[in-house]
């Protein structure tokens, strides 16, 4: 621990004053590697009061480093550590309830209640905290960024899109003192806001439109959850409510279908629900996914390791892990009826439709099968007699040789539909058309039903949860409850008349409580990270004992308490952060910044960032004038070259069913299908996560294939063509190009060079249009286009 913790030192001192906790921490850190329940070197385990007491003389002698056996062998304990351990053993090694791991962790700063610190000085609180640190290090801050830079930064941060030329101009010219605040208000009120911040959340909850694994089947209604997330951000749904709806919307708001849609959270991860043979394994894997994702997304805890063992440094021991898992044990995936009567009507219609289709299928067989059979037999007659016999023998009586013959020739003798149709009489053709007409009648209004994926409990009783036993199988049974390091607590049995176990309800209320030390800290840190590129804690989903220290501990505390003060409003947190001078700084490095704070963790200036994959695609579409602003609905499948689609494990015709309508393909990227096993090449090149695990912070790589893709790929080429067509009709094509792509007018030098380029390329390529395409594509490749600062 460093001096940075001045304000947080109270709880640490408290734990230091508890010699028991200190002694257990010493055992954890210095002894358990060789002497815990699992390792038991020399037959000694030091994991309970009785064991320690039994070995007391040997321990005292060994840590004294005077006897033959010297422990720990890799270096003597510090005198404070040794004293704490000796006096605790002398007092009978009183081991309080809870395991060593959770006791050792309970002193961890992030597990203490949030306390609102005093703001050090006047002005905006965020700046007071940031400036105090800069002063401490004798560092100067960069001045405020230009208005052009600022509005571009704010618009990308809140919309994931650039501001238009006109928006920039009107902000630059706005004399009103509230001009900047007005821009923020306008941006926060736009539905584009939810499309940007919803994406952050979808990264966290490992969203996908398919369920992964070899067949990668569709999660047919996942997009309803995606739209629910976007709407929740746009509505500024209080974060505590947002959490509750996702964790236990079914139990907490049984009369509100929209709230229950939140439980779609559980259903949009990878699963093998369509592989019925592995139901048991799938259920275990799904429970693991629920525990890991829930603890990392909402609590910033990495629980994953505890599934298999107590981790030396993680605050969640195995028992706590399975107590969390028990909360989800009764889960059952379900459909949320968005409108009860319509849903019922839909199911009834579907029921009749299915019955009718079975009949239609039978009619088609009756009509076509005789012809198919005749064709097949004609072909079989030309093959060896043994093949004919193999075909004639019923499947269950075929010898292995006959099976092989059948398989080898099945495709060969099977006629195509067209060949069958060619044999139909006039009358039969009429029958076929009648069936076709009926099918069109059945399907003409076919659309998704009023359903959203969701989750509830199978009933009031839950399957039992056991710790894994040594050597496999079930060990001790555990009940549902919360981690000891966070205060613990069991979840009681539900009332007799309850339809569910109410375990997730208890979890939701425990997480979405101002008293939970992690929920608010984790969320404000995420918001901060998405604005500044780096959180106050740089490991946004790991607030455990191994996480690094916060760069500004008091500010983190203040923001966490502020979230509750502002009624959990995320939009208010944006305002609080974005109105600060710290957010408004120029990206220009102030003196001494590179040496004293190379990572800019003290925020002396603004850190430039590369656009994210979706931002790149959306910005190109916008600059080209192609962006279709339509919101929500089924995932869009844009056309891709066959070559680009080779990565599929399913036949491409099934896995990439292209959406009808050219304009649909130009919608924002958040509405494009996200297959678990296949990312669009442009998305993959620019580090879009694949959605298997929760992603709290994206990679921002710089690779040569990215450049090839932007320079030579079909998407940028098509959009450069679209922009070029607009430029052709513009009075000043160069100025229009700069305004569209960069939101500004070109300098005289730039305009001159661009015009010279256009002239030369027109001569080279023989067409003005082709030259404009080249210029447009060049602009999409500029660092000025690809970076926001």
């Amino acid at each position: 621990m460093t001096l940075r913790f001045s304000l947080l030192a109270v709880p640490l001192l408290a734990s230091a004053q508890d010699p028991g906790a200190q002694a257990v921490a010493v055992l954890e850190q210095r002894c358990h590697q060789c002497h815990d329940a699992r390792t038991r070197m020399a037959g000694i385990a030091l994991t309970s009061s009785a064991e320690v007491t039994a070995a007391r003389d040997r321990i005292v002698a060994a840590i004294g480093y005077q006897a033959k056996v010297k422990m720990p062998p890799n270096g003597r304990l510090g005198s404070g550590e040794a004293a704490a351990l000796t006096s605790w053993i002398g007092a009978g090694a009183p081991w309080k309830a809870g395991t060593g791991a959770s006791r050792a962790a309970s002193g961890h700063w992030a597990f203490q209640p949030v306390r609102r610190p005093a703001v050090p000085g006047a002005g905006l609180p965020v700046d007071a905290f940031i400036d105090a640190k800069l002063r401490e290090r004798a560092m100067r801050a960069a001045p405020e960024a230009s208005r052009e830079t600022l509005i571009r930064r704010a618009t990308y941060d809140l919309h994931g899109l650039p501001p238009s030329y006109d928006e920039i101009q009107s902000f630059v010219r706005d004399p009103n003192p509230s001009a900047y605040r007005d821009v923020l208000d306008r941006l926060l009120a736009s539905p584009r806001y939810g499309e940007k911040w919803g994406k952050h959340w979808l990264d966290l909850v490992r969203y996908g439109d398919t369920s992964g694994f070899e067949q990668d089947p569709y999660l047919l209604y996942a997009w309803r959850y995606r739209d629910w997330v976007i709407k929740s951000f746009n509505d500024d749904k209080p974060y505590d409510r947002f959490v509750k709806e996702q964790i236990a919307g079914d139990e907490l708001y049984p009369e509100e279908p929209e709230a229950q849609q939140g439980t779609g959270y559980y259903t949009i991860g990878t699963n093998r629900d369509m592989l019925y043979k592995v139901e048991d394994i799938n259920r275990v894997e799904t429970l693991t996914d629920f525990v890991d994702t829930t603890s990392s997304v909402f609590l910033g805890l990495t629980a994953g390791c505890a599934r298999c063992h107590d981790h030396k440094f993680d605050p969640i021991p195995q028992r706590d892990y399975y107590r969390l898992q028990a909360i989800f044990a009764p889960f059952q995936k379900t459909r949320v009826f968005l409108h009860y009567d319509m849903a019922r009507g839909y199911d009834l219609q579907e029921n009749t439709r299915t019955f009718r289709l079975h009949e239609t299928g039978a009619q088609l067989s009756a009509l076509l099968d005789p012809h198919r059979k005749a064709l097949r037999e004609a072909r079989l007659a030309q093959l060896a007699p043994a093949v004919g016999e193999a075909f004639a023998t019923p499947d269950d009586r075929k010898t292995p040789e006959q099976k092989a013959l059948f398989e080898a020739n099945a495709k060969k003798v099977e006629p195509s539909d067209d060949q069958v149709f060619a044999r139909l009489s006039k009358d039969e053709l009429a029958q076929l058309h009648e069936i076709e007409r009926r099918l069109v009648g059945i399907y003409k209004n076919y659309a998704p039903g009023p359903f959203s994926p969701g989750l509830t409990d199978a009933g009031r009783e839950a399957p039992r949860t056991y710790l894994p036993a040594k050597g496999g199988g079930d060990g001790e049974e555990v009940g549902p409850g919360f981690p000891g390091a966070l205060g613990g607590g069991d979840i009681p049995e539900p009332p007799r008349d309850s339809a569910t176990t109410r375990r997730r309800k208890a979890l939701a209320e425990w997480i979405a409580s101002p008293a939970n030390p992690l929920t608010t800290r984790v969320m404000v840190n995420r918001i901060w990270q998405y604005h500044f590129g780096r959180g106050l804690i740089s490991t946004p989903s790991d607030f455990g004992t191994r996480a690094g220290a916060p760069s500004h501990p008091e500010l983190l505390e203040w923001l966490a308490s502020e979230l509750v003060e502002r009624k959990w409003s995320v939009k208010e947190m944006h305002r609080t952060i974005m109105l600060s001078a710290a957010y408004r700084r120029s990206p220009r490095l102030p003196p001494a910044a590179p040496e004293r704070d190379p990572e800019n963790s003290l925020l002396s200036h603004f850190t430039r960032r590369r656009l994210e994959a979706e931002e790149i695609r959306d910005s190109v579409l916008m600059a080209a004038g192609s962006l279709n602003g339509k919101r929500g609905g089924r995932p869009v499948v844009p056309p891709l070259a066959l070559e680009e689609l080779y990565g599929m494990s399913q036949p491409v015709g099934n896995a990439w069913i292209v959406t009808a309508g050219r304009a649909e393909h130009d919608r924002r990227t958040i509405y494009m299908i996200s297959r678990r096993n296949f990312r669009m090449p442009l998305m993959e090149a620019f580090d879009r996560p694949e959605g298997v695990l929760s992603c709290a912070r994206r990679d921002s790589s710089t690779t040569a294939p990215q450049s090839l893709s932007l320079l030579n790929g079909p998407f940028t080429l098509a959009q450069a063509g679209a922009l070029a067509s607009r430029l052709e009709t513009a009075g000043h094509p160069v100025a229009a190009a700069w305004r569209a792509a960069l939101g500004r007018d070109p300098s005289a030098e730039e305009a001159g060079r661009a015009r010279a380029f256009l002239d030369r390329q027109t001569a080279n390529l023989g067409s003005r249009q082709a030259a404009l395409v080249e210029l447009s594509r060049g602009l999409f490749n500029l660092n000025e286009f690809l970076y926001v600062e």
Binding site: P400, K403, A404, T702, L711, R760, R777, E784
Partner: protein
């Protein structure tokens, strides 16, 4: 002049971007900067020959005369005990000073017996293509993880900034598609770049404008980017992006140069079984692999076929004649060529597949998937030649000696490059990940 000739005519390297950009690029921010391994490894790079579909071990590198006897006696086998053993269709011979026994399917490769270290006791965690292909490449048979090539690139960086550090020569996609060469959570620069062969061997490599015009466009781009950078002072991220354009530009010329065999002698081409002008087939892939190795690429993977028409011979094992015919001579040619150029000592050549095939019959004259035992081999940098490691029973069904799990195999590959596989880690989602998960032991007796 066609497109390929045009590409070929490009001068390697870029004159568009100033040297200053390279200087500005701090090595620490460059994920591909050359890095030292944990200790001095004998191999500097890997050529990874991956046979798709599951190569039958008992018909290739682990011949079993016992199959014939068992089949003649009518011994029953298989999961339900209702199958008969299927003898190999090929006879085996002993090769080299070590007397390595190999069937005729790989008679050319077998001539290099004294350079090979054949492992007859391989086993993996899954019996289906998709999962096993992932397992061999990433160590995980379930969820995606970084590929072995990405781990090597992450560990070593690259020596040639005009080429990617990890190149995959795959005319078709194997099971699990591009997931087998994905960098996953490692920085994207470590992902495999796919080369398909044929007229356009690399995606988006083809300039959309003729070279002269692209040069004009890039010149303008570079000028505006440079001005943008100058106005902002140094920023490694911005210079890295300019550098990436330089690499991309370099790739546009250097990649076609890799594919240009005009300076290869007829003798060399015939080593690989290539006719002049050919740009497909495994011989082409092998020669490209050698040329990439010469240019400093760290991990070169060759995938022979795709997710159909491969070694998955359920119905008819005689299909292996064509599959082996495609790869056997080129592999032998590659080993000889590397050897004669003194490159084999520092190049680790790996030959593997996702699993073996059942010793018993499936279909008319085929074999099922079999992950309980299969064969793979290593040769070159860091590896003892003329070695057979591990042993299966008389029908090739059970490993009876020195089991080598995929994790052990991967640990050994990393060791040859100078890595302790337990220390080549990357922190992701709250914990340190590695290629071998929490498993793997280096198979020390195989090391030179």
């Amino acid at each position: 002049m066609n497109r390929r000739q045009l590409l070929r005519s490009m001068v390697a390297g870029s004159t568009l971007l100033p040297a200053i950009v390279t200087d500005l690029l701090a090595a620490s921010t460059d994920p591909l900067a050359p890095r030292a391994p944990h200790f001095a490894g004998k191999a500097k790079r890997v050529i990874f020959l991956y046979m798709t579909g599951g190569v039958s071990h008992v018909d290739t590198f682990d011949p079993k005369p016992g199959l014939k006897t068992a089949a003649e006696r009518g011994v029953k086998a298989g999961r339900r005990g209702d199958q008969t053993y299927l003898p190999a269709s090929w006879s085996a011979k002993r090769y080299g000073g070590s007397g390595l026994e190999v069937t005729d399917l790989f008679r050319h490769t077998a001539e290099l017996a004294d350079d090979l270290c054949v492992i007859r006791s391989m086993t993996g965690d899954h019996n289906d293509h998709f999962q096993a292909a992932m397992g061999v490449h990433t160590g995980s048979v379930t969820v995606k993880r970084p590929s072995i090539g990405s781990w090597v690139s992450y560990g070593l960086g690259t020596e040639n900034r005009n080429l990617p550090s990890f190149v995959v020569l795959a005319p078709q996609l194997p099971y699990a598609g591009s997931q087998v060469w994905s960098s996953d959570f490692l920085p994207g620069a470590h992902g495999g770049t796919r080369v398909t062969g044929g007229e356009e061997p690399v995606a988006d490599l083809q300039r959309r404008a003729p070279e002269k015009m692209q040069r004009l466009e890039l010149d303008l781009l570079a000028r505006f980017n440079r001005r943008h950078l100058n106005e902002r002072g140094a920023d490694p991220a911005l210079s890295a992006r300019m550098k990436a354009f330089e690499t991309a530009f370099g790739m546009q010329s250097e990649m076609p140069d890799v594919f240009d065999f005009s300076k290869e002698t007829d003798a060399t081409l015939s080593l690989y079984g290539l006719r002049r002008g050919g740009n497909t087939g495994f011989g082409w892939q092998c020669l490209v692999a050698r040329r990439l190795a010469e240019r400093g690429v760290r991990f070169i993977e060759l995938i022979d076929t795709g997710s159909s028409g491969n070694w998955d011979v359920h119905g008819e094992i005689d299909g292996m004649n064509a599959l082996a015919g495609n790869v056997d001579r080129p592999i032998a040619g590659l080993l000889r060529d590397l050897k004669s150029r003194g490159m084999l000592d520092e190049t680790l050549v790996v030959w593997t597949t996702e699993f073996g095939r059942s010793p018993w019959l499936s279909g008319k004259h085929g074999r099922e998937h079999y992950n309980k035992a299969y064969s793979a081999w290593l040769a070159g940098g860091g590896i003892k030649g003329g070695v057979v490691w591990g042993k299966t029973d008389e029908v090739g069904a059970k490993i009876v000696e020195n089991t080598v799990h995929v994790h052990d195999f991967n640990a050994t590959v990393l060791h040859c490059l100078g890595f302790d596989h337990t220390r080549l880690t990357f922190r992701h989602a709250g914990r340190d990940f590695r290629l071998t998960d929490v498993h793997g032991n280096v198979v020390k007796p195989l090391l030179a």
